[in-house]
């Protein structure tokens, strides 16, 4: 019979990965069970990468508590996990007296939520902080603690660190049913059995971090019936700029933060996000949404060249209908099941604090958490050729000529970096997985020049035929097979 884990985390999004990493320090056997082929394939990949400071959730909500704390923790997390994090600060731009009144409200909200150093600033100061911000802005809320990350990188880094500390990653393993045994979760027999096509997974405690699938997991376990709404957002990525833009927000609406323009850790510009309730699972982009994004962005940054679109994508925010808040805690129906549900925006910003809170919740529920002596909090980031100093580049090429063999010209990614992305644990198993780990195919040509080379490298490394190489999940084949007459 297969191992019974102390804890199974369902969902390898940023929330599940952060929780796994947080709990990996304890003397527990842990697995992360992911429905898709890779880490961060749900809401975690469909967002703008902003680490919001936490001035807009209503004071007293769970969101308000974990957002500001998460933002604060990002500095340490970035250092320990070796991911890129830029704390540039941000501005919410106001264009009228009504806007100014809204900014005042946001500021007092932020104050109540413990967000540091919020000030309302003049047009001169706006221009000083971000020369490209609209000259029509009459005031702004300046928030120095806002930052941005590459959300894939955060989730991948957290799970790599967890796996290095003994966590097991099981993928693709969509949970099809959950059997809950009678008795207490602390019994020696497994309390939960997750039925997946990859085999049954048994555990004593279950953590539901399934993002948009969280309501379904809770339902399968016979726990809370969350009523979820698929609040869909379209997002646009623009090509790199000589100078990275500071995040600029409009005054928020009741349901979303509005169309935000921000730089990214890689020097691109992101316009994020629309908000429309759509059919669950709809990740299509819509012409009207994309146009609304571009128009919204030009209001904040009038000189933005919105022709330079590198990518448009969409995803759904897992929103619990009615409360609009996160649900983090032990199920009141099924003991031993711990829920991190409704993790919509600001899920990226909150992830480290959600993990911290989940640890607290487990402790309070009586789960034995003994720190391991051999826990290593440090994850060494893979070498990124493009960002490496010249001397390091030379060293790398000297160590292996494949570091000098550029595959992705737009992002300057050599073959050795792609091979490393595939060989890491957990490694890339698809073309998009390679892209998320080392940016091959992420650039302006969108893999037009490098896709066939990446396919060849994946086929070689995974020991399969090019026709078996996937773009992302099962069924996303890229080439059918050899041409007629080719053996």
């Amino acid at each position: 019979m297969a191992e019974t884990f102390d804890i199974a985390v369902v969902g390898a999004g940023i929330t599940g990965c952060a929780i796994a990493r947080q709990l990996a320090r304890f003397d527990l056997s842990i697995c992360v069970v992911e429905a898709a082929n890779d880490i961060a394939l749900g809401a975690s990949k469909a967002n703008g990468g902003l680490v919001h400071a936490g001035y807009d959730p209503a004071p007293g909500t769970v969101k308000a508590q974990v957002n500001a704390r998460g933002c604060e923790l990002y500095g340490t997390w970035a250092q320990e996990l070796g991911f890129l994090f830029c704390r540039t600060g941000s501005m919410v731009l106001g264009f009228s007296d009504e806007d100014r009144a809204q900014l005042e409200k946001l500021r007092s909200n932020g104050h109540a939520n413990g967000v540091p150093e919020l000030t309302i600033i003049s047009p001169e100061r706006i221009h000083e902080l971000e020369p490209r911000a609209s000259a029509k802005a009459t005031c702004a809320l300046w928030c120095p603690s806002t930052g941005f990350v590459d959300p894939f990188e955060v989730a991948i880094a957290a799970l790599e660190n967890a796996v290095a500390n003994g966590v097991t990653f099981i993928r693709p393993a969509p949970v099809e049913a959950i059997e809950v045994a009678g008795g207490e979760a602390t019994d020696r027999a497994a309390h939960f059995t997750l039925v997946t096509p990859a085999g049954d997974v048994r555990c004593h405690y279950l953590i539901n971090a399934a993002g948009n699938g969280a309501a379904n997991i809770s339902h399968m376990a016979g726990a809370e019936e969350f009523q979820m709404v698929w609040r869909q957002g379209n997002i646009v990525v623009l090509d790199k700029e000589p100078r990275t833009l500071m995040p600029l927000y409009p005054v928020p609406t009741p349901v979303s933060k509005g169309v935000i323009v921000t730089g990214t850790v890689h020097g691109n510009t992101v316009i994020t996000a629309t908000a429309a309730v759509r059919e669950p699972g709809d990740t299509q982009t819509y012409a009207a949404d994309v146009n609304a994004l571009l128009a919204g962005a030009r209001k904040l940054v009038p000189d933005l060249d919105t022709r330079r679109v590198v990518r448009a994508f969409a995803g759904g925010r897992p929103v619990i209908q009615g409360t609009n808040d996160f649900f983090i805690g032990q199920s009141t129906v099924v003991p031993g099941l711990f829920q991190a549900a409704g993790i919509q925006s600001p899920g990226v910003a909150s992830a480290p604090a959600i993990a911290e809170r989940m640890e607290q919740v487990l402790r309070e529920a009586g789960v034995a958490l003994h720190e391991r002596a051999d826990w290593d909090p440090i994850r060494r980031a893979p070498d990124g050729f493009d960002r490496a100093p010249l001397a390091r580049k030379e060293e790398l090429i000297e160590s292996d000529p494949a570091w000098g063999q550029i595959v992705c010209r737009c992002e300057t990614v050599p073959e050795a970096e792609i091979v490393a992305a595939i060989r890491r644990r957990p490694g890339a198993v698809s073309v998009e997985g390679v892209k998320r780990r080392c940016r091959a195919g992420m650039g302006r040509c969108q893999s037009g020049f490098c896709q066939s080379r990446v396919v060849a490298i994946l086929a070689r490394e995974l020991g399969c035929d090019p026709s078996e190489v996937l773009l992302e999940n099962a069924g996303s084949w890229l080439v059918e097979g050899p041409l007629k007459g080719v053996r």
């Binding site: 830029c86 100078r243 494949a402 300057t412 969108q446 037009g448 890229l478 059918e480």
Partner: protein
């Protein structure tokens, strides 16, 4: 609070290191048809020349263009892309032109101007390490890339099976792989037309070619040879309005568009397919040019050059598809030979030749007007016979090219039809330029104006 600025970080990272350096007169970036022609012309003029090429082989995109249609004007003979390229590869191999293959240029640094000339440093990397090449002249010949789905904002899902036509061409012609079995092609540019035929020959069923504009964008001969001869339908004023399919393309939704190119509601039609090929335009790869300080025309995103194809940075020249998208490789060759010769003349300091040497007081800008989409060169600094290139934005049965200076007509071509698929070229007489100078203008206008037929 420090602002995050990656560029500064990079420059600092690169500034302090000592890397091995090799000196040349002319460094050509790109080993496709443009780079090879420029290098050969510079070599012929007596310059020490280097070619830097990203791929393992010379030839650029011609290597995957296995169809015929190349060389008709340059060699008076119909060749395939690889055959056309091979003629230049053989010529380059017969010279002492230094080849840096598998080599990626990381940056071009232009030192301070001295009395002598500016020396440019090209930093490159390859599997043997990092290297710097210096040259008084640099020729930019990086070619172009294909416009992507994202740039034209096709809505819908993002499954596997959406390829630029060039990528599909690479899969088929270089990798011997079949990208799908049932394809829709968006865009009637030449690559799209060629791929419609290529797919058909490989047993991939082509459901149709869809074109946003009311006319075909590729050359007439390609519409005939690649679509008509194979019974592939061309749907004009129609575009893809949605990609359907979660993991692999399952269908596309196509819609007719109105005269403003907006989709007409109610005309949507679902076309089942597993592959969508995009042939929706080419974009010059000017990232390196911008990093080197070359000024681009904000509208065309191409380098502004003078009559010798010199950019705004002295000693940096541009030619081929990185400068403007050509219709025929033969034209790329001709233009690039001019750039190579001019670069050599600049590097060797040959005073008195037409190339690269400005006439005192001659500084004219050239702007497009009417239905001309662009005009090249954008600057004229010598009084001499000057070759002008342009393309029209829409087809017309009868139009005339005129060169205007302050409303005075300096030159007028004869009335004839124009098509956007053709890169037009005509010689502007020296006396027209002299006249503009006499009028004291700083700008001349290249206007293509439709005329009512008599």
């Amino acid at each position: 609070m420090a602002t995050f600025d990656m560029r500064n970080e990079r420059l600092e990272a690169g500034a302090t290191e000592a890397v091995q350096t090799q000196a040349f007169d002319v460094v050509v970036i790109g080993g496709g048809p443009a780079g090879m022609a420029a290098a050969l012309a510079a070599h012929k003029a007596g310059a020490r020349v280097a070619i830097v090429e990203r791929e393992q082989h010379l030839g650029g995109i011609l290597r995957q263009c296995i169809h015929p249609g190349f060389g008709l004007s340059h060699f008076k003979q119909e060749l395939t892309g690889p055959e056309y390229a091979q003629r230049f590869i053989d010529q380059v191999r017969a010279t002492n032109i230094a080849l840096f293959l598998d080599s990626m240029v990381l940056g071009i640094d232009s030192g301070e101007s001295t009395e002598d000339a500016t020396l440019h440093t090209v930093t490159l990397m390859n599997p043997s390490g990092m290297l710097q090449l210096t040259g008084r002249a640099v020729v930019l010949a990086m070619g172009c890339r294909e416009r992507t789905r994202s740039e034209i904002k096709i809505p819908g899902s993002r499954p596997a099976g959406v390829f630029t036509a060039g990528l599909a061409q690479r899969y088929i012609n270089i990798e011997n792989l079949k990208p799908g079995s049932r394809a829709v092609i968006l865009g009637s540019g030449d690559i799209g037309l060629i791929m419609a035929r290529r797919c058909t020959l490989e047993g991939i069923s082509v459901e149709g070619v869809y074109e946003l504009m009311p006319y075909a964008n590729g050359l007439r001969r390609n519409v005939k040879n690649c679509l008509d001869d194979f019974g592939i339908p061309l749907h004009l004023s129609t575009t893809v309005t949605r990609v359907i399919g979660h993991d692999r393309v399952e269908a596309v939704e196509v819609s007719q568009v109105d005269e403003h190119l907006a989709p007409i509601p109610g005309t949507e039609r679902i076309v089942p397919c597993d592959t969508l090929l995009l042939s929706v335009g080419l974009i010059p790869e000017n990232e390196l040019s911008v990093a080197a300080g070359v000024e681009l025309d904000p509208r065309t995103r191409c380098a502004v050059v003078d009559q010798s194809l010199q950019t705004g940075v002295p000693g940096i020249f541009a030619c081929g598809n990185v400068l403007h998208v050509h219709d025929l490789a033969d034209n790329v060759t001709n233009e690039s030979e001019r750039a190579g010769a001019a670069a050599a003349a600049w590097a060797l300091g040959a005073v008195g030749t037409a190339a690269g040497v400005a006439d005192a007081g001659c500084e004219l800008t050239v702007s497009p007007a009417g239905i001309a989409g662009y005009a090249l060169p954008g600057r004229i600094t010598t009084v001499g016979l000057t070759k002008l290139n342009f393309r029209v934005r829409r087809p017309v049965d009868a139009a005339r090219v005129r060169i205007l200076a302050d409303d005075e007509e300096l030159f007028a071509g004869k009335v004839r039809p124009f098509k956007p698929s053709v890169m037009e070229s005509f010689p502007l007489p020296a006396k027209a330029i002299q006249r503009a100078l006499d009028l004291g203008v700083s700008e001349i206008v290249l206007s293509v104006d439709p005329v009512e037929e008599a």
